[in-house]
């Protein structure tokens, strides 16, 4: 099945330590994605972005000198770019917009703007009932999820570390990756790294870098006249579960189950059909929980599913082929870069890390403290 909408352009802005402004990076990402599509700003009548300012899409539209027919600035953390794909597809289907740009960029490493405590507004219940105790936000929540997971299923930190080890293997094949050329990791490296919030160490945790990207969407009909192979939006789904650290009864069960089920049903495919998987890896545990939620394996089986090199380059379950948030780039909201990598894999442009013959991809974003979950199924004609 298809939504009749396709991604026709994709690009990163500069990554790593850029010493650039947020808007400067956004402009890079959007210009490069439009050039990739063979389009210009004049073609854009829809903008979806967050993280720019309070009026994020409005700000960006003004900055680009355009008056869009459609915008979306939903704030849902790192998963929102997958949500934006769904909303953009609907807007294009409905005729409200013809060409939509989805973008995000951050200079958090250059600007040293990331705080271990996160941002909690004083008027929220969390500010009164959670923040005073000093949880790292979001890290301590994922740490508690990891503790529950390892306890419930009798798994080990070594098994969990494979997610970081494999991500590094992919990053060593990606010249744009922050850890490119930095050598491989071992499980012992991950376990021996400084403990941040047990059982998660610094190497169970994503990078803090500048970076971002953009994707351009239009109707599949129009896409066929553009220069790139259209990457069709086949399915999407999302779930929103919590802001507090106490709302979810079982930390090992996430909204990925619902968002994935919706996305696969809409696309008319199953996890077994997917050639390459891009899953939000804010932390190693995020990947394990998400793979189970999406149905790539049963509950408690993720660490067996990924073992033995299966998610590493050359393995039969290629996962996070850019090197992921763990070893490639994590600008605070990684979801946009999951889409960029999925597009490159489906267009066969991923160089040394190309998954041969990739025709179907999943990009799954996670935001907040396992708060928001959004799945997109993408495909190219076989």
């Amino acid at each position: 099945m298809s939504t009749g909408v396709a991604i026709v352009g994709a690009a990163e802005c500069d990554l790593g330590v850029t010493n650039r402004s947020i808007l400067g990076l956004q402009a890079q990402a959007v210009s490069r994605a439009l050039a990739d599509a063979g389009l210009t700003l004049r073609d854009v009548d829809g903008i979806a972005t967050t993280g720019v300012a309070r009026f994020s899409a409005t700000q960006l539209a003004d900055y680009f000198g355009i008056e869009p027919r459609w915008t979306d600035s939903t704030y849902a953390g790192g998963s929102v770019y997958e949500m934006f794909v769904a909303r953009a597809a609907q807007a294009i289907q409905a005729g409200q917009a013809e060409t939509v740009v989805i973008t995000f960029a951050s200079n958090q490493r250059s600007a040293r703007s990331r705080s271990l405590g996160g941002v909690v507004e004083d008027h929220t219940p969390e500010a009164q009932f959670e923040t005073p105790y000093g949880p790292l936000f979001p890290l301590s929540y994922y740490a508690m999820a990891a503790q529950q997971y390892l306890h419930k299923y009798g798994k080990t930190r070594e098994q969990l570390a494979e997610i970081a080890v494999a991500a590094r293997e992919w990053a060593l094949l990606n010249p744009a990756a922050f850890r490119y050329g930095k050598g491989p990791l071992t499980a012992a490296d991950v376990l021996g790294a400084p403990m941040i919030s047990s059982p998660l160490t610094a190497l169970d945790s994503c990078l803090v870098t500048d970076g971002g990207g953009a994707v351009v969407l239009t109707s599949l009909e129009r896409a066929r006249d553009l220069r790139r192979t259209p990457v069709e939006v086949l399915g999407y789904g999302e779930r929103t579960t919590n802001t507090s650290m106490t709302a979810v009864p079982d930390l090992t069960v996430t909204g990925a189950a619902g968002s994935g089920a919706d996305a696969f049903a809409r696309a008319g495919v199953t996890p077994a059909d997917i050639d390459v998987v891009q899953v939000y890896d804010s932390f190693t545990i995020t990947v394990a929980l998400t793979l189970e939620g999406l149905g790539f394996c049963g509950e408690g089986e993720a660490l067996d599913r990924i073992a033995g090199g299966r998610i590493r380059p050359g393995g039969d379950f290629p996962l996070n082929t850019s090197g992921g948030g763990l070893s490639y780039c994590h600008p605070g909201q990684f979801g946009i870069l999951l889409l960029v990598e999925a597009v490159r894999q489906l267009r066969g442009e991923a160089g040394d890390r190309q998954v041969p013959g990739a025709r179907l991809a999943v990009a799954h974003g996670t935001g907040g403290i396992l708060s928001t979950h959004a799945t997109v199924v993408l495909g190219v004609d076989g």
Binding site: S115, L116, G117, G118, D122, H123, P125, A127, Q128, F129, E130, P132, Y133, G134, P135, L136, F137, S140, A143, M144, A145, Q147, Q148, L150, H151, G154, K155, T156, R157, P194, M195, I196, S197, S198, P199, L200, S244, M245, T246, P249, L251
Partner: protein, 163 residues
Amino acid sequence: MTGLDGTKPDGFKPDVPAPDEITGPWWDATREHRLVLQTCPSCAGGDQPAAQHPPRALCIRCGSAELGWADAAGTGVVDACTVVHRAPRPDLAVPYVIARVRLDEGVVLLTRLQDREPGEWRIGDPVRVAWADLDDGRALPVFVPGAAPSPATAPSPETKEGN
């Protein structure tokens, strides 16, 4: 470590935003070291009142705004915990233990665990409430060991920190 009465954790006296019209009664009870839970009379049934936390302007089961308060027993078990080694704010001394505690009433609180070596806490450990007094007269509920761990909740090696 903290005093055995659990009432004066070393240096743990964070700033807490002022209560609002919804959360005021909960915080007022902490001045008397009483842990209360918001309850919905419409949803109450069986052995337990229908409790929710944090306090809200409506019941998340039925939507009723006619809510009451009930004293919690102050006992529960560790649902999950993590030892924090890097403080998010300068006023916090590491390491300390952040936890989800599941109260006997079924409600989960975010809190701290105290009066045991941080790395020794395990999922399922029984706990009871203690209080960290704030300068404005309110107090934060924290939790301390509630009873000797039974064999059923003995430490499991895979969750031991730093192994």
